[in-house]
């Protein structure tokens, strides 16, 4: 057996965001030479700006209306993007491959029936306020199938139903780091002969009050005029969420080569950790991760896609770690992809990984995503790209994506 047989290759990408749909559209907009203007919805959820999804014709990947009706919008978005990734990898419709495709989805869920919730909230403090009225309203007003449209594991369930992925189906939960873990576990399984072909990813629908509420209980959202990532620290920091879905096909080199699938890139290393964030713990954790992953990377230009969420103090701590890399002789070409896509929670790391694999396949890196001056232009290519994702309070992840020579 070739020593590199179990290399982890990215062989398919499905990506949808406020910028558009598919790799090419993202590539063109993010390398046009003029600074990309983020797409924003500024008024519907005031005081929170969000990056809205563009109008999608879901029937392109989810032909049956009945299927679409059974899904919450985040599930439609994810199922749609999973279909794009499977098509891109040449797996769609191939029963023999789908039967051996292992799926790991990062999901939140919980898209509520806002109308029912609002009607119920209205009764609080009213003359009939109480458990019997609530029971009556829930029994009468909730759509029976609504439960399935908000259930976390049903994004994966819908992908199986619509696209026929039946090798296995797992759903990880837990915000940003679940999106990281789906990739890390898939990669480790490929490297250790626990599967050759994986579909991983996540989807996030930012345009919902219930989703905003879930996050802002911790006061981590940016509730002000939009600013790009690196400009928020002086005002306390905060996340601007974005509707994004990213799915990738990860495959062993051996499996991909045998079926003639072309790689975008190799996922050369991926490491997660969970440190005590006090007293610089996260920076030290990231330094150690970089020492392991970046061991052997030449000093000089280094392309880096940061998944920083904008919340403080995590974002400032990550910047301090990046400054440390400069001191070690790396000329970091930093790109905070949250500035252009928004922060997309479970989908965030898969989206960063998709952007990295895409750049590696093009042999060129992205234009700066903001005007902060922190993101310097780069014409140094994209042979090696570091991608980071940290949770706002816990969890630090780093991956190395490389060009397949």
């Amino acid at each position: 057996m070739d020593l590199n047989d179990n290399d982890v290759w990215v062989t398919g990408i499905g990506l949808v965001s406020s910028l558009g749909e598919g790799c090419e559209e993202h590539w063109q907009k993010l390398t046009a030479g003029t600074r990309i203007e983020p797409v924003l919805e500024k008024s519907a959820f005031t005081p929170y700006p969000v990056h809205p999804l563009f109008e999608i014709d879901f029937s392109k990947q989810i032909p049956r209306r009945a299927d679409q009706r059974q899904m919450g919008k985040w599930q439609r978005l994810g199922t749609y993007t999973a279909g794009m990734a499977l098509s891109d990898a040449g797996i769609a419709g191939n029963a023999a491959l789908l039967e051996n495709t292992n799926m790991i989805v990062a999901a939140g869920g919980g898209e509520r029936d806002i109308e029912v919730d609002t009607a119920l909230l209205d009764t609080i403090g009213g003359p009939q306020d109480g458990e019997s009225l609530r029971n009556e309203m829930l029994m009468n007003d909730l759509r029976p199938t609504h439960f399935l449209s908000e259930l976390s594991n049903l994004l994966a369930g819908n992908i199986s139903i619509v696209h026929g992925v039946i090798g296995s189906s797992r759903t990880f939960m837990g915000e940003e780091m679940s999106g990281f873990s789906v990739v890390e576990i898939a990669a480790r399984r490929i490297q250790n002969n626990q599967g050759e072909l994986f579909l991983i990813g996540g989807a996030y629908n930012a345009e919902r009050q219930d989703m905003l509420l879930q996050l802002d209980l911790g006061q981590i959202l940016w509730a002000d005029e939009f600013e790009p990532l690196w400009a928020r620290q002086t005002k306390g920091g905060g996340m601007v969420t974005g509707s994004v879905s990213a799915f990738l096909v990860l495959e062993s080199k051996k499996h991909a080569s045998a079926r003639g699938a072309q790689p975008y890139a190799r996922l050369s290393g991926i490491l997660s950790g969970r440190c005590n964030r006090t007293e610089g713990g996260a920076m030290r954790a990231a330094e150690q991760q970089f020492e392991t992953l970046g061991h052997g990377l030449p000093r000089g230009p280094l392309a880096l896609l940061s998944g920083a969420c904008g919340a403080e103090p995590a974002t400032s701590q990550e910047l301090t770690f990046l400054e440390g890399l400069q001191d070690k002789g790396y000329e970091v070409a930093l790109r905070g992809f949250g500035s252009v896509l928004g922060h997309s929670v479970e989908a965030h790391f898969p989206a960063g990984l998709a952007l990295a694999a895409l750049a590696a396949s093009k042999g060129k890196f992205y234009d700066p995503f903001d005007r902060s001056g922190l993101e310097r232009p780069s014409s140094d290519g994209a042979e090696h790209i570091i991608v980071t994702t940290w949770g706002p309070f816990h969890g630090e992840g780093m991956a190395l994506v490389e060009e397949v020579a």
Binding site: E131, I166, E175
Partner: protein
């Protein structure tokens, strides 16, 4: 490739050295096993909230742990702490607050409940808004950060990781009713990869709250036989009419055989194999030909390198829904053929109800107790056999039997099917 420490496929053998369990039947293995083997039901009338106007008024609830304010998330965390504490104590592994391995947690999707919404909605923050805008303004006051720390999808695992000092980023997962088995599977895979000598695998669920009950009711999934709660869950019976919601937790310390032997740990059993197969037929129903369930069982036998002749007891998924029990029987029949009728099979859910996210873990815990004690717990409420389901369900009374290898099934909504094969030491 097989040696004492490696299995037939050359992978590290994985053993269990600590087990903890809590269900409506009680705290800990001893209380639970006594109740379970004596055919006691843990299903009662719901008193936690008003059931006026609801079609189902019964459930298995854990009411002996005090949580204020009560929430599904809070209870899921408390139950997980109970079971993990018991498992780690039995394994005598690590030091207090420092478990030498990662955490894999099956936990229900996080959600705010009406108690929390009410607190947010009645928060007087001086901004005149209605509905969600009012709750969002309440969130911005910063008074609800505790709510944040409990109601994220990763909250329960974060709290557990802090408390037990597990290593690295914990994984929270949901594969519906197969979740508990998936958590075990992830731990087994990590040990087989050689990444760790030990893993803490936990399944937990505290979801008996009004809206969860209503949602399952609206899907017509629940038994409505409210009059005699203890009789309502009747897996494999002709008059079965749905499952009974329940809650609980089970936790395991799994280790490589090598690591357990090196530190002289008492070995309680072996996880021989795990396998899965996803269904793509329907959101709540399995393929009519059972091929996904059959595939999951066959993949598991294959992973464990055992044949149908090695299995001497099946711990059934057995939910007591008309659909599951029929499909489970047909799938088992397809795999085991004529041998099926000679294998005892019982459903713990007849007594504890369906503990949902925790079920696969709790039922694995009870399976290990069967191996250790030589007692098969019964399927209770077996008064009207279903002529279309020809199984030896160990009706109504426990049975003594020497059991060394068990198949435990879990089949979930959303097509997620996971099975385990558990056996006695030596592997």
């Amino acid at each position: 490739m097989k040696s004492e420490l490696l299995d037939e496929k050359g992978r590290p053998v994985v053993v269990v050295t600590g087990i903890g369990v809590v269900t409506p039947l009680g705290r800990g293995k001893d209380e639970n096993w006594k109740a379970l083997t004596s055919g006691t039901s843990g299903i009662t009338q719901i008193t936690r909230f008003s059931t006026e106007g609801l079609s189902t008024k019964i459930a298995g609830t854990v009411d002996f742990i005090d949580i204020a304010p009560l929430s599904g998330q809070g209870l899921a965390l408390a139950l997980a702490i109970e079971s993990a504490t018991e498992a780690i104590a039995q394994a005598e592994i690590g030091t207090k607050g420092s478990f030498p391995g990662p955490l894999f947690l099956a936990t229900p999707p996080a959600e705010l409940e009406w108690e929390q919404r009410k607190a947010l909605y009645t928060c007087d923050h001086g901004i005149s808004e209605t509905g969600y805008a009012h709750m969002l303004a309440a969130a911005r006051t910063g008074q609800f950060s505790e709510m944040y720390s409990l109601f994220q999808y990763g909250s329960v695992s974060d709290h557990l990781a802090d408390r037990f000092g597990t290593s690295g980023q914990p994984i929270s997962l949901s594969t519906a009713c197969a979740s508990g088995a998936s958590a075990i599977q992830l731990g087994i895979e990590a040990i087989r990869r050689g990444e760790t000598g030990a893993a803490l695998c936990v399944g937990t669920d505290g979801s008996v709250h009004v809206e969860a009950l209503v949602r399952f009711s609206l899907l017509s999934a629940l038994s409505t036989q409210n009059e005699f709660p203890e009789k309502a869950s009747k897996p494999f019976s002709k008059n079965r009419d749905g499952f009974v919601m329940s809650e609980g937790s089970a936790a395991f310390v799994f280790e490589s055989y090598e690591s357990a032997r090196t530190r002289g740990a008492k070995i309680l059993g072996v996880v021989r194999g795990c396998g899965e197969r996803a269904d793509n037929f329907h959101r709540t129903r399995s393929k009519p030909d059972g091929s996904a369930n059959i595939g999951a069982i066959r993949n598991t036998l294959d992973d464990a390198s055992v044949t149908i002749n090695d299995i001497d007891y099946i711990n059934a998924h057995g939910t007591s829904t008309p659909e599951n029990d029929k499909m489970e029987y047909l799938s088992l029949k397809a795999v085991f053929g004529d041998r099926l009728i000679r294998i005892p099979i019982s459903s713990n859910k007849s007594m504890i109800g369906h503990t949902l996210t925790a079920a696969g873990a709790i039922e694995a815990a009870f399976s290990f107790l069967t191996i250790q004690t030589g007692v098969i717990p019964p399927t209770i409420n077996c008064d009207v056999p279903d002529p279309d389901i020809e199984l030896d369900v160990v009706p109504n009374h426990k049975r003594e039997a020497s059991v060394s290898t068990i198949l435990s099934d879990s089949f979930g909504f959303g097509g997620q099917n996971v099975c385990l094969i558990l056996s006695a030491e030596p592997a």
